[in-house]
């Protein structure tokens, strides 16, 4: 098809290109592929970083789900994980540190046809943005949270994270981290999240499956991902996790049993990965909004607003 808009030419009055009418609708395009996902930039992560495993699993999941590329939005937090924003060719939204979730839930309400996926770190989600994490779970917003859990702050060069084990010496806690680590899965259970899972960057096949299941789930989905930081966390290494992780589904875990999920979330010696809990009756937030029944908000016209409907109450 012929482009009617030449990107090279300066455009003195860009507002002239407005669409007629109020609703914004669009045509479909290609599904994602390895090539379509390629941005001009190659990752700047440290060699051996767990982000590579996550990135690979994430792209595999997107490709296997065969979603049209324009119907996915990835909302990134700020941190090493969020730097993935430059390495994927997608509709990307690189949010403020800690604030990816509120932007993501609103995008979903504005256009519930989109798949909205948050890619952020443990500091971003379980520290700075914890209020939003809990609220999004309570609302059962249909977004997927892919949380890189490396138990340290990487991009700011090695301080304690909310997930750091108590007593761990870091740059900001030279005498050892003074707090108990957060239990993200337990928190999610308490906040009535409808899909709660954990993966490991060292097991790409399993993580791919987790991400796919999370994206397919209708409602909030959390995948907490063990993602070793080679540079700043010498304790929680690939070796550390490989020795400890086991697959919940292989172990016969009942993923509709909340109490059992809670017990699993507290295990420390062995570390379960897999789906801890899934609510089979999940109703996502947007489905409860009757004003979205005619279709996504963004497609509903505002060209003619009948204000007269509200004026009698002011007389």
């Amino acid at each position: 098809m012929e482009p009617n808009y030449t990107p090279q030419s300066p455009n003195p009055d860009p507002s002239r290109q407005a669409q007629p009418g109020g609703g914004l609708e669009s045509s479909r395009h290609a599904t994602m592929s390895k090539e379509s996902l390629e941005s001009p930039y190659f990752p700047t992560w440290c060699p051996g970083c767990g982000n590579f495993g996550v990135w690979t699993a994430f792209k595999n999941a997107l490709i296997e789900l065969a979603i049209p590329e324009e119907e996915v939005v990835i909302v990134y937090g700020v941190g090493c994980s969020g730097n993935m924003a430059d390495f994927n060719r997608v509709y990307g939204f690189h949010a403020l540190h800690g604030r990816a979730i509120p932007s993501a839930v609103a995008m979903k309400m504005a256009n519930h046809r989109l798949k909205v996926i948050v890619v952020a770190g443990d500091g971003d989600t379980y520290g700075e943005g914890l209020n939003h994490f809990i609220s999004a779970m309570r609302g059962n917003h249909d977004i997927t949270l892919l949380i890189h859990d490396n138990q340290v702050y990487g991009l700011t060069t090695g301080q304690t994270a909310p997930t750091t084990e108590k007593g761990t010496k870091t740059k900001s806690t030279p005498a050892g981290a003074p707090e108990m680590p957060i239990n993200p899965l337990g928190l999610a259970l308490t906040a009535d999240a409808s899909f709660i899972a954990r993966g490991f960057a060292g097991n790409i096949g399993h993580l791919t499956y987790m991400i796919k299941q999370a994206i397919l789930h209708e409602g909030i989905s959390l995948v907490d991902m063990f993602q070793p930081c080679f540079t700043f966390n010498k304790h929680n290494t690939y070796h550390y996790f490989k020795e400890r992780v086991y697959d919940l589904q292989q172990a016969g875990h009942d993923m509709q049993n909340k109490e059992e999920a809670w017990r699993k979330s507290r295990e420390h010696d062995k570390l379960p990965i897999g789906i801890f809990y899934q609510d089979p009756h999940s109703i996502p937030f947007h489905a409860s909004l009757s004003q979205l029944q005619p279709g996504p908000l963004v497609h509903q016209s505002i060209a003619n607003v009948e204000l007269g409907k509200v004026l009698p109450s002011f007389r």
């Binding site: 098809m1 507002s15 669409q19 509120p102 004003q291």
Partner: protein
């Protein structure tokens, strides 16, 4: 006493329905075809504090409350003792002297006439409850002020209809008992007000912002409640079944603003609102919207700080804060409306300009304007909205579309998720034309300059300073925001040619040329603003080099009164 206007006030404890009573009285005046302004005072308490609601109404133009009250409905003794300076010769007070054991001789010096009206007793007799005392007082008020009781009856019907016919009937009986009591015991203090056709609506600044936004196609509103803007949230929340609109009470202000940005990014018209204290939490996201070039409308209501300050009072102490809010250099528009009509119109315009130029537009107001009621001409039944600055489809199939293309006007057509070939990164980091992060010196410079150019492009669309009153005058007052409302009253009360005013409805980008032109012909400039440091005076000097000759400032949480400004002007002359 002025025969063609009336000043009525009700005062009592919070929880006694003061506000409902006031709004019913305001509607009565509106439905008689009068102009109305109603000012409310209340402490930051739900029950027990002293609340007032005062209505100024006239067939002549009016824009604010005044000090002296014609009729005070005092539901307790504080309704008198806290307001003695508002009573004078010719004022009338309805109170319950017998029931409340009030020694009225203490208040004889006011010169007011006191009537002992058994409002509570009548209420109990007709409804079995004390709460309809307000309705009794309204009936009595209608008689003494020469207002139409049948019109008032209809207002009462509309007020209580939701509670069923029985409640309506009881309140009608209470109303007429009050009216008959006054007829038998009190002398009218006004000639009868005729009933003219009503062409107006009566609403608060908050409601004007809310319906202005809805008329402009507001689709997503997220906020966290905080006085004085909670009513914007309440108003739009109640309209979700009537318009394609989603309203979200967010977990905090940070979430509210990041939600609005997310929704706007997805292509809908989005807004948030808060008090300045709540907005303080949104500052980082202001910066986000700026670098992402995502349209955003924010209504901010000023109330006295620092910190929690005086939650339910007014001020204009956050102009400089709003001008500077957000790290990095942020192109923004700051509207400073005065009347409810200006709140309505500038909120509409805010959505248009935010979308057209991919800018943040503030509607900066204050408790006084946002929570006072005023009448305005009825808006149109239908509003048409054009959409601006989106890409035209189809986009280039070779994926060459650049979301942040460098343009002369500074903004570039945006794609939204869902549009084929519109893929891009919308980035909180500095970025290239596709949105990918960059630390290039050249691109950093180019992108900063690009964003700032939007303020040049938008200049022609902004409301300019206006002269209020005569074109020339011996004294020119200068105002922004709600202060204009009081200055209009000052001008009306002064001999012609003595005083006029320059009102600034858009503080940023500052309208340098037009302001300098208007100020250039002024003989004496007096800045009137409700803050301690003279924030607009500072801005004017910064932008134009013009110094004010005098300043009138108020920073005690109370609104200006025309009487006080007139006295101040007299002192300056003397």
């Amino acid at each position: 006493m002025n025969a063609d206007s009336l000043h009525w006030k009700v005062a009592g404890r919070a929880g006694e329905g003061i506000d409902v009573t006031g709004s019913m009285f305001g509607k009565l005046c509106l439905r008689q075809g009068m102009n109305v302004f109603a000012y409310r005072e209340y402490p930051s308490l739900i029950r027990g504090g002293h609340n007032t609601h005062q209505v100024h109404a006239s067939f002549h133009p009016l824009t604010c409350q005044q000090r002296q009250i014609d009729l005070m409905v005092a539901l307790n003794e504080e309704g008198i003792s806290l307001h003695v300076d508002e009573l004078g010769e010719g004022s009338v007070v309805f109170c319950e002297a017998t029931q409340d054991k009030i020694d009225l001789s203490k208040y004889a010096a006011t010169g007011a006439i006191f009537y002992d009206v058994p409002m509570t007793q009548i209420s109990r007799e007709e409804t079995g409850h004390f709460l309809a005392q307000n309705v009794v007082s309204l009936g009595a008020s209608a008689w003494i002020l020469g207002l139409d009781i049948e019109t008032l009856k209809n207002v009462v019907t509309d007020q209580f209809q939701e509670k069923g016919d029985k409640v309506v009937e009881m309140n009608h009986r209470a109303l007429f008992r009050g009216y008959d009591f006054a007829k038998a015991n009190c002398q009218p203090i006004k000639p009868t007000f005729e009933k003219r056709p009503n062409t107006q609506i009566l609403l608060t600044g908050n409601q004007a912002v809310a319906i202005g936004a809805v008329s402009a196609g507001l689709q997503y509103f997220s906020a966290y409640p905080m006085t004085p803007t909670s009513e914007v949230l309440h108003t739009v929340a109640a309209l979700q079944d009537k318009f394609p609109l989603v309203v979200k009470h967010a977990e905090d202000e940070i979430s509210a603003v990041n939600q609005a940005i997310g929704a706007s990014y997805a292509g809908v018209r989005a807004m948030t609102a808060s008090a300045t204290g709540g907005y303080a939490l949104m500052v980082e996201a202001t910066s986000l919207a700026a670098i992402m070039e995502t349209p955003l409308v924010i209504c901010v209501g000023q109330r006295p700080g620092p910190a929690t300050g005086l939650p339910t009072w007014t001020c204009q102490s956050d102009l400089q804060f709003i001008l500077h809010a957000g790290h990095g250099e942020i192109p923004k528009i700051v509207f400073t409306p005065a009347s409810v009509q200006e709140h309505f119109e500038l909120t509409r315009l805010a959505f248009e300009l935010a979308e057209k130029y991919h800018l943040i537009v503030f509607v900066l107001s204050d408790k006084f304007a946002l929570e006072s009621y005023a009448s305005m001409p009825t808006p149109a039944e239908m509003y048409q909205n054009e959409r601006y600055s989106f890409v035209t489809e189809p986009l280039p199939a070779d994926d060459s579309y650049r979301r942040f293309e460098v343009t002369e006007a500074g903004y570039s057509p945006r794609s939204i998720p869902g549009q084929a070939h519109g893929l891009s990164v919308t980035n909180s980091y500095e970025h290239d034309e596709f949105g990918y992060a960059t630390e290039s010196a050249e691109l950093t410079k180019t992108m900063n300059a690009k964003r700032q150019r939007k303020l040049i492009a938008v200049a022609a669309d902004l409301p300019e300073p206006v002269v209020v009153g005569p074109a020339e005058a011996k004294v020119t007052l200068v105002s922004w925001g709600s202060t204009r409302l009081v200055l209009e009253e000052v001008i009306r009360r002064m001999p012609a040619g003595e005083v006029n005013a320059i009102h600034i409805p858009c503080a940023w980008p500052f309208p340098q040329a037009r302001f300098a032109e208007l100020a250039g012909v002024a003989q004496k400039l007096i800045m009137v603003e409700a803050n301690v440091t003279g924030q607009m005076a500072q801005l004017i000097r910064q932008e134009t080099g013009i110094q004010m000759d005098h300043h009138i400032r108020r920073f005690d949480g109370r609104p200006f009164y025309a009487e006080e400004i007139l006295a101040e002007l007299e002192r300056m002359n003397g």
